[in-house]
């Protein structure tokens, strides 16, 4: 059995009095964790309340462009529903229109479209999205681009809402 002479010097650098220290029992830890569980549930409920109450009103219809303003395979930038929301209108080779938010769902860079391409590309981190439905095809993004609902009214293209 080691005697006082064998006591290493480093022990004096850690003056912990184990006999005076407080140990946490299993029951105390269970109570503490349950309290934390209640707090987490409360924060989650608050987040849900904030999210539901902050739902934006339906976006009003707004004219985007004329049907002939976009050539097949081309694109057009516009703002919808406010002047601070950049969007992109695409027309595929068959003449069908689709529009999406231009804000990348990864880190909010502006996605771009190259004429004739089937994908929208984010130049920041090489993310790409389908030009048909906005779903992510590659790179860091995991959520699809919000889709702008487009209606054809006579010779005009009209945005009627946003589908997140």
């Amino acid at each position: 059995m080691p005697g006082p002479a064998d006591r290493p010097r480093w022990v004096d650098d850690f003056p912990i009095r184990w006999d005076q220290d407080n140990y946490m029992t299993r029951r105390e830890l269970a109570k503490f964790l349950t309290l934390g569980s209640g707090l987490l549930a409360g924060v989650n409920v608050i987040l849900a309340a904030v999210g539901v109450s902050r739902q934006p009103p339906p976006a009003p219809a707004a004219r985007i462009a004329g049907v002939d303003d976009v050539a097949p395979g081309g694109s057009l930038l516009f703002r919808y529903p406010t002047a601070e929301d950049p969007c992109i209108l695409l027309r595929d080779a068959s003449g069908a229109f689709a529009a999406f938010s231009q804000v990348c769902t990864h880190l909010s860079c502006a996605v771009v479209h190259h004429a004739g391409a089937d994908a929208l590309e984010c130049p920041c981190h090489k993310g790409s999205f389908s030009s048909r439905d906005g779903r992510p095809l590659g790179g860091p993004p995991t959520r699809r681009l919000p889709r702008v609902l487009v209606e054809r009214r006579g010779g005009d293209l009209v945005a009627t809402g946003i589908e997140v």
């Binding site: 029951r27 269970a30 964790l33 349950t34 987490l40 989650n44 849900a48 999210g51 539901v52 902050r54």
Partner: protein
């Protein structure tokens, strides 16, 4: 296995279970914050409900431990 050892195992298992539920709640909270910032409010209510259910499970397990202790106190120490 003697009864005391069984009790220790049981309470340790309950503690681990509660800790696991809290970790799942943390994951739900991270998902909620992500959905809130992305404007996907439809995700928020189910995650809040799931978090409340997990809290109810944790509270139920804790209630079991506390009621167990209360029953033990009624009987008093072995004498």
């Amino acid at each position: 296995m003697e009864t005391r050892q069984q009790g220790l195992t049981l309470f340790s298992a309950i503690l681990v279970l509660i800790a696991t539920l809290v970790v799942i709640q943390l994951w739900l909270l991270a998902a909620s914050v992500d959905a809130l910032l992305a404007g996907q409010a439809v995700v928020l209510v189910p995650t809040a409900a799931a978090s409340c259910v997990l809290f109810a499970l944790s509270a139920g397990l804790l209630w079991y431990v506390v009621s167990f202790d209360e029953r033990l106190k009624q009987w008093g120490p072995r004498g």
